[in-house]
């Protein structure tokens, strides 16, 4: 009797603490998602101020699509994010391979440079690039300098993601390919790339999404070119527009779609995204 109670006691405590932590987790999910779900719900509603009882309408969506400003802004945002993500992914992939594979006395410095942008606030990246471009290089705000400035933190994030997968990569496979006569480029294409492409894709997606959503860096480097975040910022300043809620819903939908695709890829074991099972 005493034996069972001494065993059951700690187990019950463990279950209780697991229950409490589970509740905290649920509360955080509610905290994180309540505003988003509220926005999605309101975007479909006819009355934005007090959307109860619900009367559904697609008015905010037709407003959104009717406005040419949002269309231009979307095109600019996509161009900016694509360019920035390509720069980030290429630089980060090359950097991660170089740092992990070839010993050099510059390795520490290169590592430091690749990670440095993580520790600089975006506002500072934005204003310092503006100051540098405008006063030192004499460049006015343009899409390309915004792309480059956004690629700075993007490169760090991409580098971290690629590094996380590459530390487990066995370079002996490449050495084997080279012993059999493949050049470094060929061994990369045929051996390395098929193994590490999920991390490249992940790095590309993350740097794309970061640049797509960025306000603080782009705002100072784009001049008068509108992007979705800057248009949203403008409309937030003049009170919440219903089309802003529609826009938020569409962006959330796109993000969800990416996650669903990732889940399906994992589910059907096309890509494991680092999960090795335990």
């Amino acid at each position: 009797m005493t034996a069972t109670s001494t065993i059951a006691g700690p187990r019950r405590r463990l279950m209780a603490s697991a229950l409490v932590m589970g509740l905290v987790l649920a509360a955080v999910y509610v905290f994180l998602y309540a505003p988003i779900f509220y926005v999605i719900y309101t975007s479909f509603s006819a009355d934005i101020v007090w959307p109860f009882p619900p009367r559904f309408s697609a008015q905010s969506y037709s407003d959104l699509f009717a406005s040419s400003l949002y269309g231009t802004a979307l095109a600019n945002s996509v161009t900016l994010a694509l360019g920035s993500a390509v720069i980030s992914t290429v630089l980060a992939a090359a950097g991660a391979i170089g740092i992990l594979r070839y010993r050099s006395r510059w390795r520490g410095l290169a590592m430091f440079l690749f990670l440095a942008p993580l520790f600089v606030a975006e506002l500072l990246i934005g204003i310092s690039t503006l100051a540098f471009n405008a006063r030192v290089l004499g460049l006015p705000g343009n899409l390309f300098s915004a792309m480059a400035a956004n690629a700075v933190p993007g490169t760090s994030f991409a580098f971290l993601i690629i590094l996380a997968q590459l530390v487990r990569y066995d370079w002996n496979m490449d050495d084997a390919a080279m012993v059999f006569g493949a050049g470094p480029f060929r061994s990369f294409i045929e051996i390395t790339l098929p193994t590490i492409w999920p991390s490249l894709l992940g790095a590309f997606l993350i740097s794309f999404i970061l640049a797509f959503n960025d306000l603080e860096i782009s705002f100072y480097n784009l001049g008068a070119i509108p992007t979705l975040p800057s248009v949203a910022w403008g409309s937030l300043r003049f009170g919440l527009g219903p089309e802003l809620f529609a826009l938020a819903t569409l962006v959330n939908g796109a993000v969800c779609l990416v996650f669903v695709v990732m889940y399906l890829l994992m589910r059907y074991r096309i890509v494991s995204f680092g999960y090795r099972g335990r």
């Binding site: 101020v49 090359a94 440095a116 310092s128 603080e216 975040p229 969800c256």
Partner: protein, 316 residues
Amino acid sequence: MAGRLRRLLPGLTPMSAGTLTIATRKTKLHRLFAYRFAMLAGPGALFILVALLLPLLSIVVFSFWRTQSYELFADWNLDNYRVMLSEAAYRVFFLRSLGMALAVTLACLVIAWPIAYFIAKHGGRYRLLLVLLLAAPFFTGVILRIAALQGLFGPIGIINMTLTELGIPPIQALMYTPLAAIIGLVYLYLPFMITAVYLSVINFNFELLEVAKINGARPWRAFIEITWPLNWIGTAIGLVVVFIPCLASAVTQRFLGGTQSASFGMSLAQQFGETGTWALGSAMGVALFFSSLVAILLIGRSINLKRSGFTGAINR
């Protein structure tokens, strides 16, 4: 590395033997590898140097210059720093931003730890999914998430409208107060903290806790002496990546915080936007940069790589 070289070219001198490093002749292969390292890591390093460090250097230079009617003049002086230190408004903005960043970082730490730990320990095969769900809102962008928060907290937001409909006065504390700005910042940066702590706990060997238990440690003691110090490096990274954007944040305070939470970042952005006083703005940027540097150094000093279970995997 040395082993691989030896295997590739059996006649090559080993680069190191045990802890003793033997200086080798500069072999052809050596130079080839140095060249490849430079070709691969060089462009990215150069890019960061040009696109991050040079601009930061340029605002350090501009902070000693003078602006007059939207133009920068290169007469070196300390006026900007004098203005920044003597005007009470900037001091208030800075201290307020600092206090807010500290409060937000602490709140994120307290919320993130149990969650990251719970998912890592009890999440099973759904761990990744649970963490991705926590990180997903992060990909919606600051502006749209602030819009969502205003839809919840604002004067015409769902919480206050519900209260008004029920005949209860709205919660003043949620409408354009520092508290609302702090909640907003926690909302924005909590995913960072959870991810950082989770990535650390996921690599933590939970069997160590069993050992502690066998040796008679209570759960709390085991946490303090084993789990916490061994995961401190992940926690420290989380603290830094939450604290730094919070210290510089401007948009959240502007839309959620009202006049009582005007921040250093807001004032800094204003120097580059509306008022066009770039030299003063540069000085404020330098101040911001140095305060984040101090924070990084303070947190970085507390990291003991060996105590964190760092095995030097990167230097294989």
